[in-house]
Symmetry: C2
Amino acid sequence: MLDTIFNHRSIRNYKSDPIAESLLDDILRAGSRASTTGNMQVYSIIVTSDTLLKEKLWEIHFRQNMVKQAPVILTFCADFNRFNIWCRQRKAEPGYDNFLSFITAFIDALLAAQNCALAAEDAGLGICYLGTTTYNADKIIDVLELPEFVVPVTTLVIGYAADDPGLTDRLPVEAVVHPEKYKNYSAADIDRLYLEKESMEQTASLLEINKLETLAQIFAQKRYTKKDNEFFSGKYLEVIRRQGFMK
Amino acid sequence: MLDTIFNHRSIRNYKSDPIAESLLDDILRAGSRASTTGNMQVYSIIVTSDTLLKEKLWEIHFRQNMVKQAPVILTFCADFNRFNIWCRQRKAEPGYDNFLSFITAFIDALLAAQNCALAAEDAGLGICYLGTTTYNADKIIDVLELPEFVVPVTTLVIGYAADDPGLTDRLPVEAVVHPEKYKNYSAADIDRLYLEKESMEQTASLLEINKLETLAQIFAQKRYTKKDNEFFSGKYLEVIRRQGFMK
């Protein structure tokens, strides 16, 4: 288990080899064993392998080729639709058209996703999460025909790796861990915790390509800009509202 | 790996035995290897074992005794504070005071949490997620002294199990899986998918205790009511806003 966790890499190039049905079933069942609020299981997993649908998802996920290459795309959704139908069919009036219920379902979907990711990696498959899911949730809703009370949360690309990237760097664990209470960061803490990341050869070449002075500028000015974040914030909030969760 | 996933139970009674420091360190490092958006690691883990602090958390988490019993409480937070400080210290103006950035950090925190949960279970520890984290996030912020841009997402109770509950039932996996696109549920689908859950002895006794006709009514009228959900929705949205993520 720990080996699988500590060997995780995001795979961005895939072979076209299909995933055996029994293995895919194991992966999905692994997802369904994750913790879930009150055992409500308020999430759904859309398993897409159809070429045309994958092409539409590829378009939505910023044309990252892995979406077309990999045999299976799993879209994890916050889903109170099934639970609401069950309630109404059983003489109960559901009260889940609100933000807390969305958040609850969002959590369920992510714990299931990480179980699927680890089960896949444990079986020798590669995976990659697509953050673009929340950016273009509106378009995913159209393509996957998601009804009210279903909102895309994250996507896993799954398949056999066509390359073998090294482990990605991480901050020293003490950067993200706070004993007892939150301890805020001094300037010296930040320098120390980001030193390794900033000293990497890869960082130097990124700075040269982008003609920028610091790695933080690459994040703030190129990769995750205020303008884009604000644009996609508005879109995602509108999706949450339109799908029924902001009453 | 699959064994650990398929044997997951939520443990609600703990021995007071401490967790060895090296094991806890493995669990936290497992968290830090999880996928994270753009390798930003925009989450933090607060590790609380102090008796007084745990007592305050116990109060916040609806006085569930496991919070006092278990040796370690991990509070997972969406955290752009560290990243923002780093940006400012590196001549970059962060643009992360918006809802999308909150959602991004929320996802990061949950993937790390599930890695920690599985690493703990793999080592023979018991775990339980506390959904009450989002209900009383405001109080957790006070107790754990979380600064702006840090919002509690979920909590893991970790320790050695004092009981050995059976596996919890789950819906058949086809209930949560949709091949290719979302397929909505017919009345017959709902009857079939919820049959096992509704037929359980435990359900019959719950109905008798609550003097209600259906299991769905227990959820909608007792456990997760519209009134509570709306109250906690307002509180959590206010927390997100107050911590700086709704600009």
